[in-house]
Amino acid sequence: MIDVYKAYDNGTKALKGVTLRIDDGEFVFLVGPSGSGKSTIIKLLTSEIRPSEGKVMVNGYNINTIRPNAVPLLRRTLGVIFQDFRLIEKKNVFENVAFAMRAVGAAPKDVKKRVPYVLDLVGLSHKARRRPYELSGGEQQRVAIARALINNPMVIIADEPTGNLDPARSLEIMTLLERINALGTTVLAVTHERELVNRFAKRVVAIDGGRIIHDGQGGYYTNDPRRAGARE
C-alpha cells in the first residue's frame, strides 16, 4: 500500500499516509496502541473498506478499483483470522472448515480429503464432530486457522488472534502461524502482546495515530524502551 489515507464517514482520520510493502513469504507483526489504525489496514487489505486516498494492491487486485463481484475472489487468496474466532455456532468443526471450501465451488470428494488434512495440521482431527461451544478458546482459534488455510491462501491475515487467549495458548497459536509461514504462506499478524513479538525474530511494523513509526526486523519493544510505552 502506498501513501494511504483513510477517513471514515464520521470524519475519523484512521490512516494518515501509510506506505507498506509486504513480500511473498514474509512474516510481519503489526503492532500499535488500540485505535491506532491496525484493523483499518486489515479492512483495506480484505476490501471491506476503500482508501480515501492512496493506492492499495493485494495479491494482484487493485482495491481502489476492484469490482464488487471480484471481492470474493480476492478474499479467497486471503485467510483471515479474528480475535473473536467467528465460527458458525450451528455447524461443527468439520462443517465450519468445509463450508469455506464449498464456497469456492469445490467438489464434495475433494472437501472430504482436504478438511481432515488441514484439521490435522492444526491438531484438531479428534474434535472434528464437536461444535464451537464445546471447545476452548485456543481450539476455536485453531479451527479458524484451519478455515483460513483451507483454500490454500497466499496470505494469512490475523487481527489480534491471541487477544482472547492466555499466554500459553497465544504462544501456541503464534507458533502455528510461524509453521504455516515456514510452509510458504505469507503471514500478517496484528498483536498487542510485547512478549509474543519479542519471542519471534520477525519483521515488526509499528503504527501510532495512523502513521507508521517503526519498520524493522525483530525486537522492536526491547530496542527502545521509550517507544515500548506507546503501546497502551
Binding site: P72, L74, V80, I88, A100
Partner: protein, 293 residues
C-alpha cells in the same frame, strides 16, 4: 452452477429450517395465519356472491302476450323472445297453467266455477343471462310485436344488484387491507429470521463466498417454508370450512354453502402460490440488505 453446488444449496436450505427452528416456526405460523384469515374471508365472499347469483338467475321477467293472438301465434312469439341477446331461456306459460295455479290457491269451489282460463293471458317467463341489463332487455321485449305487457321484479333485482356491488367492494377493500397487513407482518418475521443469520452471512463473506452461494440456501429455505405454510393453511382451511358448514350453519340455518370439493383447487393453488412468493421474495429481499457492499 454444478451439480454439487445445487445439492449443497438444497441440503443447506433444508437443514437451515431445523437449525433456525424458532424463526422457521414463527415464519410458518405467521404466513399460515395470514393465509387463513384471507382465505376465510374470501370464502365467505364467494359464498355470498354465489347466493346472490342464484337468486338473480331464478328471478324472471314475465311477458304477457296480446290476447287477440291465436294460441299458436302467441306461442310463436317465443322465437322472437329467444332472439334477444340477453335472454337465457324463455319458458312458455299458457293461460291454462296460470289458471290451474290460481285455482289451487282458491279455497272456495263455488267461486272457482265462475272463472275460466280466458281471464288470463298467455305468458312467457323469461330468464336472463345478465340481470344487470334487465331494464334494457325489458324494453326490447316490449318492442316485440304481440307483446302486451312486461313485468320486471324491479325491487328484487335492484336489491340483489346492490348487494352484489357492496359485497364486491367490501371484499376487495378487505382483502387488500389484509394483504398489506400480512405482508408487513411477514416482512418482520423474515427480518427476524435473517437477523439471526447476520453473523453467519458476515462469516461467509469473509471467507470469500460469492453472493449467490450465500443467498441460495436461504432462498431454498424460504421456498420450503412458504410451501409448508401454504399446505398447512390449506388443510386447516378445509377443516375449518367443513366444520363451519356442518356443525355450525346446518343445524341452525337453511343456508347451503358451496361444497369444499368445488373450491379446493383454487384455494390450494392460491395458498401454495402465495406461500411460494412470500417465502422466496421475502428471503431474497431481506438477504439483499446483508449482501450489499
Amino acid at each position: 452452477m454444478n451439480r454439487h453446488t445445487l445439492r449443497y444449496y438444497f441440503t443447506e436450505g433444508f437443514r437451515g429450517i431445523f437449525l433456525h427452528a424458532f424463526s422457521s416456526f414463527a415464519a410458518v405460523g405467521v404466513i399460515t395465519a395470514c393465509l387463513l384469515i384471507m382465505g376465510s374471508f374470501s370464502l365467505v365472499a364467494v359464498n355470498i356472491q354465489a347466493m346472490v347469483t342464484e337468486m338473480e338467475q331464478s328471478s324472471e321477467i314475465v311477458v304477457e302476450i296480446d290476447e287477440s293472438l291465436s294460441d299458436a301465434a302467441a306461442r310463436s312469439v317465443g322465437t322472437q323472445i329467444n332472439r334477444i341477446e340477453n335472454v337465457y331461456e324463455a319458458e312458455w306459460f299458457p293461460r291454462e297453467d296460470a289458471f290451474a295455479q290460481y285455482v289451487e290457491k282458491l279455497e272456495d269451489p263455488l267461486l272457482m266455477q265462475s272463472f275460466t282460463p280466458d281471464i288470463f293471458p298467455h305468458r312467457y317467463k323469461v330468464y336472463l343471462v345478465n340481470v344487470q341489463y334487465a331494464e334494457e332487455t325489458a324494453r326490447d321485449l316490449e318492442a316485440l310485436p304481440g307483446v302486451a305487457a312486461v313485468n320486471v321484479e324491479r325491487d328484487l333485482l335492484n336489491s340483489l344488484l346492490s348487494i352484489r356491488r357492496v359485497v364486491r367492494v367490501v371484499s376487495v377493500v378487505f382483502i387488500l387491507a389484509l394483504l398489506v397487513v400480512s405482508l408487513f407482518i411477514m416482512q418482520n418475521t423474515i427480518k427476524l429470521a435473517t437477523f439471526e443469520r447476520r453473523e453467519e452471512i458476515a462469516i461467509m463473506r469473509v471467507v470469500g463466498a460469492a453472493k449467490g452461494f450465500i443467498r441460495w440456501p436461504f432462498v431454498v429455505e424460504g421456498f420450503l417454508l412458504g410451501l409448508m405454510a401454504g399446505l398447512l393453511a390449506y388443510f386447516l382451511q378445509a377443516l375449518a370450512y367443513n366444520r363451519f358448514a356442518d356443525s355450525l350453519l346446518r343445524p341452525i340455518t337453511p343456508i347451503q354453502l358451496i361444497s369444499f370439493g368445488e373450491l379446493w383447487l383454487p384455494v390450494l393453488a392460491v395458498f401454495l402460490l402465495t406461500g411460494f412468493l412470500v417465502g422466496v421474495f421475502g428471503s431474497v429481499l431481506t438477504i439483499r440488505k446483508y449482501l450489499r457492499a
